[in-house]
Subunit: 199 residues, 2 copies
């Protein structure tokens, strides 16, 4: 919840949105998407139930708004000096995010919401499109340095670096660790270097 | 539903199981996992509701059993003569499966079920472990032919070939087509050839 010392620019509306968002994330972490209700978010945020219903409408609306705010947040696009290092670092960001006791369950809840609900799916897709766009910088820099071939499809390299982690987490149910992340990053680099992602 | 001409070995119990499985798949295709009920499967299969409840218990049990039968079914592990050809063919099998009007919605429903339900997740994980094991033959043959380095982790190459398809379908919500499948297969091959998957 937003404490008295964290009043944000934008005034009361922004504070309400932030309080609802934080309550949504906390509820997702504790109960998952299937346990997310407008009533619980209202109670937890201290925002009146009718306000939450009027502005967010449903659990779907709460998830979509939380994702919209998450997409807008800055995140540390890796810049290690080498393409392989950057791609490994990208994969590590995904791995450590899911391993995190707070972020992990929320991220998993976002994916679960997207599988069950078209509105949440749309919000998640927008989130990933934004992340791919940001992370493309890693590949573009590598092309400029001559590490990767000209014409490399940067979003495709980023997908290759992180896809094996999501595949294990949400499809095959296999665990991921730092070694899995490093291998995914290095494999994406090797394939890109060999020209597998040139347009 | 099982017609009179398709009596299977195993007699009445096997026929009942097959009828329930086919009804489960048809219900998943039409209504997804969230719309799957024991009552509807019983009605569709012609098997008495109390029998379905006693033997399968719930929607979760129906999905787990359908996946168990699917895992045991033979499938055409590609053998094109080259590692790259085989890995592309593997990715194409995934892509064409999801594009199929009957199989696609069922496969998507299995993934949705796994995200929502631990029992379905366990069944899906067993299914994929079996598929990875079968598909490993593609990589093992390539190592024997000298196309890929000795010590290549075959399951890891298989994961790399198909993960980008699942990532697009279930995480980023991007469409997949034959070109996406071919690129995933070729990228997995290039990374494996470069030694990214050696143990």
């Amino acid at each position: 919840m937003t404490g008295p010392g964290t009043v944000r620019p934008g005034g009361r509306t922004a504070r309400t949105r932030e309080a609802v968002r934080e309550a949504t994330l906390a509820e997702l972490a504790e109960h998952g998407y299937q346990g997310l209700t407008v009533d619980n978010v209202a109670a937890r945020s201290g925002v009146h139930k009718t306000t939450v219903y009027r502005r967010w409408g449903s659990a779907e609306g709460l998830v979509a708004d939380a994702l919209e705010l998450a997409a807008a947040e800055p995140w540390p696009v890796p810049d290690t000096g080498s393409a392989e290092g950057d791609l490994r670092a990208l994969a590590r960001l995904v791995q450590s995010g899911f391993a995190d006791a707070e972020q992990g369950p929320v991220a998993a809840a976002f994916v679960a919401a997207a599988v069950q609900n078209p509105g949440a799916a749309k919000a998640l897709h927008t989130f990933f499109a934004r992340r791919h766009e940001d992370a493309a910088a890693v590949v573009d820099r590598a092309v400029e340095r001559g590490e990767l071939p000209a014409g490399t499809d940067s979003a495709e390299v980023v997908r290759a670096a992180v896809a094996p982690l999501y595949y294990r987490l949400f499809i095959t149910g296999e665990r991921i660790d730092e070694a899995v992340a490093d291998r995914a990053g290095s494999a994406a680099f090797a394939a890109a270097r060999a020209g597998a992602f040139t347009r």
